[in-house]
């Protein structure tokens, strides 16, 4: 067994959230720059220029790109030959989030009780943690600071196999048509197809963590991504929802095995502050 101190996990989580909140990912910046060149709407181009300038200010001043510094989501892939020492792994993740959000002057946006008290926990914990056990002796942390404005516009449909690719396309496009303007466009759309009621949304979230423009390895799903990109940009929602030709920067699809009787489809929308990062210990 390889021993890993949970303090190392805490430190990795802290570093990930401090960095992703203040520094726009290079692939997102490149994509916004390209959109600024290609956008047809003059007002849309000025919105895209604002977003690029915002990213420069955030990086220069080490301040968050967006006041909604998100809810911390961490995918932890743990090698089965790893033994954690020095405390609770779950608490180490929360500890890293707590320190990042305090030290980085990041907004704390988590309420403990969703329905009645809605009292702010004060330190942006608890984080949402997804554990997976994999072969090997490494620990891989995939993290994202997910804002709620775009999360609120996401959707899940329990579709029928008979709905086919056309049904999936219509559902994804309709979800963006209804909520896209509120989700801080240009957006990134993650689509999860298959699995069960709980797995499709997880696939959609993981799809958002892929580098922009990296197509699905299966040529049929890659084609679906391209078709969705075209159709969504054809909606005309545009930057900030004011109208324009850039509504989505990327559509990324993940799929998994499902039941003979169903085809769950989840659409997870992410704003242009597509904040995520990865560390392997």
């Amino acid at each position: 067994m390889r021993e890993v101190e949970v303090a190392r996990v805490e430190e990795a989580v802290r570093r990930l959230f401090l960095k992703m909140n203040c520094h726009m990912l290079p692939d997102v910046r490149t994509s916004l720059e390209k959109a600024r060149e290609e956008e047809v709407s003059e007002l849309g181009r000025s919105v895209l220029e604002d977003l690029l300038q915002n990213a420069r200010i955030a990086a220069d001043e080490e301040v968050p790109l967006c006041q909604d510094c998100g809810m911390a989501v961490v995918f932890l892939e743990v090698g089965q030959e790893v033994a954690f020492t020095g405390g609770s792994l779950r608490e180490a993740v929360d500890g890293g989030v707590r320190r990042a959000y305090a030290e980085g002057c990041l907004r704390k946006s988590v309420v403990c009780d969703p329905l009645f008290d809605r009292k702010n926990s004060g330190d942006n914990t608890p984080a949402i943690v997804h554990f997976d056990v994999v072969p090997g002796d490494k620990v891989r942390l995939l993290a994202t600071a997910k804002g709620m404005g775009s999360e609120n516009m996401s959707a899940l449909a329990m579709m029928r196999a008979a709905d086919g690719p056309e049904g999936v396309r219509d559902f994804v496009v309709e979800t963006v048509r209804r909520g896209g303007a509120n989700a801080c466009p240009p957006i990134i759309v993650g689509v999860g197809i298959g699995g069960n009621f709980e797995t499709a949304p997880l696939l959609a979230k993981k799809a958002l963590l892929r580098p922009l423009g990296v197509r699905n390895g299966d040529v049929r799903y890659a084609r679906l991504e391209g078709e969705l990109l075209e159709r969504i940009n054809g909606l005309g929602i545009g930057p900030a929802g004011y109208g324009g030709t850039t509504t989505v920067l990327a559509v990324q699809v993940e799929f998994a095995a499902t039941h003979i009787a169903g085809m769950p489809v989840a659409v997870n929308i992410c704003c242009h502050a597509c904040r995520h990062g990865e560390i392997v210990l």
Binding site: Q53, N54, C105, N120, N233, A240, C271
Partner: protein, 185 residues
């Protein structure tokens, strides 16, 4: 693109009615932040005949800032989704609220009340929070301190860059903008 119009808050109905959807403005003066929890409390206070802030001719910014870094007036402060405030907005407009700053679409009831009363809805660029923070010169919590980021703050702003998203004449950029760029595929 037409040059942005400079306006000063608070302002009256005449100025509000002169603004048209799609127009860019630079807003200076005094505005208040309020979002979800503050709206709930504000409307409850109004039902008791109280109000912790003036509403007549005022501007409310739907925003909850990040904490200020050392030496700064305020942390990043971009708009939140306005639609969540729709259930409370007609009440505030009835009390004289003149303008709102946020992002995203509004309900028909809000747009109608804006037309009836001569109010305007500005869009600020969602996610441009570090850039928008540079326009804030002073910030003070004036109500509901316990709500943290959701407390009501009075802001002094200079040249806050906004777009008239919906005007007092039924104009709505979120409805009128996209069809101009729509392509059937």
């Amino acid at each position: 693109m037409k040059e942005a119009k400079r306006i000063e808050a608070p302002f009256g109905e005449e100025l509000a009615r002169s603004l048209r959807s799609g127009e860019r403005v630079l807003l200076s003066g005094t505005i208040y932040t309020a979002r979800d929890a503050a709206h709930r409390r504000l409307v409850e206070a109004l039902e008791r005949g109280e109000s912790p802030i003036p509403l007549k001719d005022q501007v409310i910014y739907y925003a909850g800032p990040a904490p200020a870094s050392p030496g700064k007036v305020i942390g990043s402060i971009g708009p939140t989704t306005s639609g969540r405030m729709d259930p409370f907005t007609v009440t505030l407009l009835e009390k004289g609220l003149r303008a709102m700053i946020g992002k995203g679409t509004r309900s028909q009831a809000v747009l109608q009340a804006m037309s009836d009363r001569g109010a305007v809805y500005f869009g600020a660029t969602g996610g441009a929070a570090a850039l928008l923070a540079r326009c804030v010169r002073a910030c003070r919590i004036v109500a509901y301190d316990d709500l943290g980021p959701e407390a009501i703050r009075r802001l002094e702003v200079i040249d806050l860059p906004l777009v008239v998203a919906a005007d007092a004449w039924g104009g709505d950029l979120y409805r009128e903008g996209p069809p101009r760029f729509r392509r059937e595929i």
